[in-house]
Amino acid sequence: MSDLLDRVVLPVAHDDDATATARALDGHEFGSALAVHVVEKAGGAPDKASVEQREEAAEEAFSVLRAYFDDEVDLETRILYGTDVADAIFEAADDYGASSIVITPRGGSRWIQLLTGDVALSLVTETDRPVVVLPDVEEETGGSDGE
């Protein structure tokens, strides 16, 4: 096991995202993992969606990871709240003493990235710890084989 994947933080935005992350990570040896979902707060205006609605979506994404990794992996989950998604993830990584943050970008056109504030870019450019970018296995190889 490389030290890099000793304690990983897995940001998941959605259940599909969680599937991609789980699939991508499956071929690698890693220690413990903290899955996080950030509920983006407007910080003084009503949010885009109900907080409880976002929390339900987060639990769905987490349950995908739990189902994927069974009991063999030490997996924690946490819902974060913040006006800046990347900052919230960094803070959680700090807390957890993460060795790295693992992301699986899932494409999306430029304008979608623009509209969503491109979290992946912020994670890579503003980070103070290693960020591991794993390819989305299905999209790369077209197969279900995790290696």
Partner: protein, 746 residues
């Protein structure tokens, strides 16, 4: 900061600006001209009356909002108090009311947009409608993609608007002329009778305070901030409306006031020469901003209501999926957006229809909110603990409900008809779809059914008729005799487990006729201890099966009959009950009533004649038919759970054994019992069953269509088998299928 604090980031100012920002757009920028044509200068009083009605309701919304700071607002309170039927009406009313209001705001936006830039009409659409459609599509798009609205923006928009309106007020006041106000026919050219119809038109400009409640889950310290924001925003906009509309009517005579862009018209007159152009442009931009923010807030609020409805199973949760990239409830927003577009295109030529339809639907919801508040208070709901309570209870909520419905009567037929169409749709939707998907009964339903002996029959049967079925499979086990309960629980748990369901353990305490139920309830301590012990044991037993358990105690004069009532009340899909010398009171009383009831089983019944439950060798006599289907199902469940060995028995007529064997083999295959032992006998049915039962530890018999339960209840001895065999017997009868119409009116 804790997560809790981070999730709740709306302070008092933010909450207040949601309310004011939503309301102000309509009242000032869109409606004064239209409403003035309706009532003359006294329309100012129409606004004030609207403010008073809104204020009374604001008190009730505040109480409920502090008790339940949940997403969904009015819908949520009504669903919790009055149950899912009214919840469906409220959800639909709130949702469509917001869609009408959004269409109305879009039209208002279009009116000012066309003064700023020429927009061509298109096909059957006026230029204003085209402008409104563009606006509507943009607003829906913005909410779909969830362009990030950060903290201050909302508050800044509202503060800027208020600033612009203040300047407008100052300059307007300088050109104000009392003679202009009274010039054309005095203050009441149409008489005082025009005030309330005027209120009917302008009430839409008070729809906004309740939106604060739909985002209550995001408020900091909702116990304090929610009432202040809700009541405060109504007070503030009422004052603003009163002052500004008076000023406008003192600058431009009421009959000349533009129905399309009144504020721009007044500005043109009020501002001094060189500044006019700039002032009109600024005011027009303010109008666009105000109507846009109203529409935006309404679309956002409707998605919250959809979510709350989806969570309760009133609408499909498909609607509430979160977009993978945008993190918005995109489907809900698209559907709402589609409805808004249709409203703009179909009804947008008449602003008043949109405004009033929005008001009627909201007023219906407000009336229900007030009734819901009374139910929460009167039903003495334990969890109901509001930080804010309405003054002068029960006067305030009663007044709120009456005033809301009274205002509806001043609307025109078309708006009322449109709204009622949505109410009817909601009721139909509930009966056809939601009733099967929702599980929450509501405090009113619980209140009525828990007191089914004191309440008028019609109330009880009405409550039962509309009570939710739930998606959950519920197996009720009525417990009477503590000695024999364990086998019953085992059987019921197995049935519940097989259906992924819940076990509902019900202790029915039969109170002698001489004792009134209320005095029995006073002795409830004794009963409680017995009951608790009994139900606790039931819980422990069931939990060994990993089945969720619910427990209830029911006091009743009636023993057996009460089981049927309880089965309906608790939405049982199946009842597993004991039958024997010491079970459930004396049969034979009120035979005809029992006949009627048992002819009309509310759910599947399994009756266990318990002689020690041993599931090792099960005998299932069958002659086909729906009730044997149920016995086959029971046998397969027991086989799976306990590894039972199943024998099927068919009693054929003399000389038809071959046909019998044929039938039985086919039947076994159809019912997933292909590997069971098949046994075909001839001769007397009862003798055949009894002799086959000698080898069995349990006999499962489907009740005949003539209604085995009736015969059993009357204590007649038609089913000698039950008494003559040595092992335990399960009698199974399927529920009586009734059509929707029968259920409603039967």
């Amino acid at each position: 900061m804790s997560d809790e604090e981070l999730a709740k980031d709306l302070g008092l100012l933010s909450a207040m600006t949601i309310g004011i920002g939503t309301m102000i757009g309509a009242g000032i920028f869109v409606l004064p001209g239209v409403a003035a044509q309706e009532a003359g200068p006294v329309v100012v009083a129409s606004f004030v009356v609207g403010g008073v009605v809104a204020m009374i309701n604001a008190f009730s919304v505040s109480e409920l909002g502090t008790a339940m700071p949940k997403a969904g607002g009015g819908y949520y309170y009504i669903n919790r108090s009055l149950g899912p039927l009214f919840g469906s009406i409220a959800g639909m009313g709130d949702w469509m009311g917001l869609a009408f209001a959004s269409a109305f705001y879009c039209i208002g936006f279009g009116q000012y947009l066309t003064t700023l830039a020429p927009i061509p009409g298109l096909l059957f659409l006026s230029d204003i409608q085209v402008g409104a459609l563009i606006a509507g599509i943009v607003f829906v798009g913005v909410n779909y993609a969830g362009a990030k609205e950060t903290g201050g923006v909302q508050s800044v928009i509202v503060l800027v608007l208020l600033g612009i309106l203040s300047i407008f007020a100052v300059f307007g006041w300088l050109s104000f002329d009392y003679a202009t106000l009274t010039g054309s026919g005095g203050l009441t050219p149409m008489g005082y009778g025009a005030i309330l119809p005027g209120t009917a038109v302008v009430f839409v400009s008070f729809l906004g305070y309740a939106k604060i409640a739909t985002v209550a889950e995001e408020l900091k310290n909702p116990g304090r901030n929610l009432p202040i924001a809700v009541i405060g925003s109504v007070a503030i906009v009422t004052v603003i409306y009163g002052i500004l509309v008076t000023i406008m009517l003192g600058v431009v005579p009421w009959n000349d006031l533009s129905p399309n862009a009144p504020v721009a018209q007044v500005t043109e007159i009020a501002f001094p020469g060189g500044l006019t152009g700039l002032a009109v442009t600024i005011v027009t931009l303010a109008a666009l901003l105000a109507t846009a923010s109203s529409a935006n807030a309404s679309i956002l609020a409707s998605a919250r209501i959809n979510f709350a409805m989806g969570r309760d199973g009133i609408v499909t949760d498909w609607l509430n999926d979160i977009h993978p990239s945008f993190a918005t409830p995109y489907r809900s927003i698209l559907v709402t957006g589609g409805v808004i577009i249709v409203f703009i295109a179909a009804l947008g030529r008449d602003l008043e229809v949109l405004a009033k339809a929005a008001s009627v639907l909201h007023l219906i919801v407000y009336a229900l909110i007030n009734v819901g508040l009374i139910v929460f208070r009167e039903a003495d709901v334990e969890e109901y603990d509001p930080d804010f309570t309405v003054p002068l209870y029960p006067v305030t909520p009663i007044l709120g409900a009456v005033a809301s419905l009274a205002l509806v009567t001043f609307m025109d037929t078309i708006e009322i008809a449109l709204s009622l169409a949505f109410v009817v749709t909601a009721v139909a939707w509930y009966l056809v779809y939601a009733r099967r998907h929702t599980v929450y009964e509501g405090e009113l339903g619980k209140f009525v059914t828990e007191r089914s002996d004191e309440m008028p029959d019609i109330a009880v049967s009405a409550a039962e008729t509309v009570a939710p079925d739930g998606g959950d499979y519920r197996v009720m086990v009525p417990l009477a005799n503590p000695e024999h309960e364990e086998d019953l629980i085992t059987l019921a748990s197995a049935m519940a487990k097989a259906n992924d369901g819940t076990l509902v353990a019900t202790h029915i305490v039969t109170v002698p006729d001489q004792t009134s139920l209320s005095s029995a309830r006073e002795r409830a301590d004794d009963i409680d201890t017995t009951s608790e012990r009994l139900l606790e044991r039931a819980r422990e037993n069931a939990e060994t099966f990993g089945v969720p358990v619910e427990t209830h105690t029911i006091l009743s004069h009636r023993g057996f009959e009460q089981i049927f009532d309880a089965a309906r009340t608790h939405d049982a899909d199946q009842v597993v009950m004991g039958w024997g010398p010491d079970s459930h009171g004396s049969p034979g009383r009120a035979e005809s009533a029992i006949d009627e009831m048992t002819g009309d089983l509310p759910c599947d019944f399994l009756v266990l004649r318990d002689r020690g439950l041993d599931t090792e060798r099960i005998l299932v006599p069958t002659a086909g038919g729906p009730d044997s289907d149920l016995s086959a199902e029971i046998a397969t469940i027991l086989r799976r759970e306990f590894g039972s060995k199943v024998t099927l028995l068919y009693v054929a007529d003399e000389g038809e054994s071959a046909e019998g064997a044929d039938f039985l083999a086919g039947w076994a295959g159809d019912h997933d019992l292909g590997d069971a032992d098949l046994r075909v006998e001839t001769g007397d049915v009862e003798t055949a069953i009894e002799s086959a039962a000698d080898d069995a530890t349990l006999v499962v018999i489907g009740a005949s269509e003539q209604g085995l339960l009736q015969r059993l209840v009357r204590g007649s001895v038609v089913m000698d088998v039950v008494d003559d065999v040595d092992c335990s017997v399960i009698l199974a009868q399927k529920r009586t299928e009734r059509s929707l119409v029968e259920r409603l009116f039967g």
